[in-house]
């Protein structure tokens, strides 16, 4: 009976944690890996895949869909059902973009995205302007590896020491600090 109860408790906690995690990742921010080198040298400046950059994607921009030229966004692919791409917005609705042969106007409600590494990037030069409704978030910063983000590394170290100091002042036994 004890093991059944334990299993139930674990399932409940996992379910709650899962729901909260999904809500935060849909409404607030999430961390996604960058695959491929179409955004070199901004992301993945080297080519080895075990050192992929992880970036923080914020979702508050989806409340009003107001983007600026130069924002790096995550969007669902217009041609492949399950894929997501990370590219930079270089054209807002109503602007004129010059591609290889002609000048194209970006329609209302759409945007023109291009990768930073023009040589190997599948972007609007291939599939045309994308509807803003496909955008799933805006990239704000790189969170991994920490040497690419010195503000975050500094913040993590300071936060650790502050929490340790406050817990000592509050007389929390140091071994129970890890149970938080």
């Amino acid at each position: 009976m004890g093991i059944q109860n334990l299993l139930w408790q674990v399932t409940k906690k996992a379910f709650t944690g899962g729901i909260i995690g999904v809500t935060i990742s849909d409404r607030c921010c999430s961390v996604v890996p960058v695959r491929g080198d179409s955004m070199s040298p901004t992301f993945n400046p080297q080519r080895n895949s075990y050192l992929d950059d992880y970036v923080l994607v914020e979702k508050f921009c989806l409340q009003d869909y107001k983007f600026a030229r130069g924002d790096v966004v995550v969007f669902s692919s217009p041609t492949h059902f399950r894929d997501r791409y990370i590219k930079r917005i270089v054209g807002l609705p109503g602007e004129w973009i010059s591609s290889s042969r002609d000048v194209i106007r970006v329609p209302e409600g759409h945007c023109w995205v291009e990768g930073d590494n023009k040589a190997s990037s599948l972007d609007s030069r291939t599939f045309g302007p994308i509807p803003l409704g496909l955008i799933r978030g805006r990239v704000t910063s790189v969170v991994w590896p920490p040497q690419r983000n010195c503000m975050l590394a500094l913040f993590m170290v300071c936060a650790f020491y502050i929490i340790k100091w406050v817990s000592i002042q509050l007389h929390v036994p140091q071994d129970s600090l890890w149970k938080l």
Binding site: S77, G109, P131, L170
Partner: protein, 166 residues
């Protein structure tokens, strides 16, 4: 460190307040997950889907499971984020999947010329049931499949029209 002593005193109250807030927060998160990933209710209005949907507004239940598995098919009424204004959701019927060949009248009131089009890969053709008063794929072209956000299941309001949407 007087403020730290105050912190210690209020620890009991703070814990109780935190527990109450966390119950409300968990409920709101559950609401969000159900609304976004399982089923939700939407108020739809406008003339573009007459006679299927009324002009003055209906409440329909839409499910958000099929489109994630690629199961939106021909003839389904889909909830789609408008390609001309991403803040608006539109309800239209899917009349063409990728690779289908379609022909439609460029302007049903004027002339008889019909336009032939092939739906590209990864796109769908959406059209309102009321061809005279609907801005749909005949105006803005085929839309990417990923812009579909749900499939309409049944109508719940007004009560005399309760039931499926056929």
């Amino acid at each position: 460190m007087r403020w730290l002593r105050y912190l210690n005193q209020w620890r009991g109250t703070a814990k109780e307040a935190f527990d109450q807030v966390s119950i409300v927060a968990k409920f709101l998160c559950l609401l969000h997950v159900t609304d976004r990933y399982i089923i939700s209710s939407t108020h739809v209005q406008g003339p573009s889907m007459l006679p299927t949907l009324n002009l003055t507004g209906d409440v329909i239940l839409a499910e958000h499971v099929s489109h994630r598995f690629g199961k939106i098919g021909l003839g389904d009424v889909a909830l789609v984020r408008s390609p001309t204004d991403p803040m608006k959701m539109v309800t239209k019927r899917v009349l063409g999947l990728e690779g289908h060949r379609l022909s439609f009248y460029a302007d049903p009131l004027v002339g008889d010329d019909s336009v032939n089009v092939v739906v590209p890969k990864g796109h769908v053709w959406i059209q309102g049931d009321n061809v005279h008063a609907s801005t749909d794929s005949r105006n803005f072209g085929p839309v990417p499949y990923n812009i579909i956000e749900g499939k309409a299941l049944l109508r719940v309001w007004p009560p005399r029209c309760f039931g499926s949407l056929r």
